[in-house]
Symmetry: C2
Subunit: 142 residues, 2 copies
Amino acid sequence: MTRPEPAEAASRRPTRQRSALLAVLSDTDGFRSAQELHALLRARGDGVGLATVYRTLQALTDQGQVDVVRNADGEATYRRCSTAHHHHLMCRSCGRTVELADSPVERWAARVADQHGFADVQHQLEVFGTCAACAAAREPQR
Amino acid sequence: MTRPEPAEAASRRPTRQRSALLAVLSDTDGFRSAQELHALLRARGDGVGLATVYRTLQALTDQGQVDVVRNADGEATYRRCSTAHHHHLMCRSCGRTVELADSPVERWAARVADQHGFADVQHQLEVFGTCAACAAAREPQR
DNA sequence: AACGTTCATGAGAATCATTCTCGCACAGTT
DNA sequence: AACTGTGCGAGAATGATTCTCATGAACGTT
């Protein structure tokens, strides 16, 4: 109680579990759910507890080292990402993702928020579509 | 068997439960979770089963009569809305929402999707902030 | 290198939203 | 009124995420 606050949850201890998780994230292309990542780690032999996966993912998210996107089911999916702010164009069929920078949304969001008296603005934008490959694979069937 | 399909799951039977739910949605300003709506109904005396709330909400969503937005916790929240495509500016503190039309996102999303060979594009955009009232209420404390 | 403090880990329990199951009730029809 | 199909609701089931707490690893100090 009398102890002063631990400043910030800034730098945490480096552990095997954390680097294993980062490794899987780096080797992975699309967004993966915590459950999937947990399974992948186990498959690799780098077993990591599920709770730790969630904890670490959350920490990495707070640090901006990974992006979180909720899929249609509301499940959180994660991906290692460049730290700069950006959005994603995701194929709804194969999950392939393209990072999109420089959207006009940033400025627009700031402007309308200001117009309505809102401060401290954030936004969340995802674009979904069917990529060329998946579209081609589906076309013949119709 | 020989009877032609019921066209679409368009109009279902009108029931007390459904109109009660629509009534609550109409009387409500912000987005509400299914659980909240269920509680509100119960408080009104128009008790409706939880399962029914979910079922009906889903049907209304499919018909485009309500909007669904997932909050930061991944919980689905619902609101009766105009059917035209639009986005929301939501206060992260009190939940107050403003509908935003005419964003530049539509065109931009279509363009970048095209550039990357993606077809059949959709997007999902929410803007969060702190509204003037909530900002004012918080200021003094610091 | 050994020690003690502190923080991360992990197994399993607990939570919580959402969906499923299935018997019952009711609307519309004959 | 009897029939038939559809909606309802209580509670169980599911599944992701979080919590608990005892154990173990990492770090700073001797």
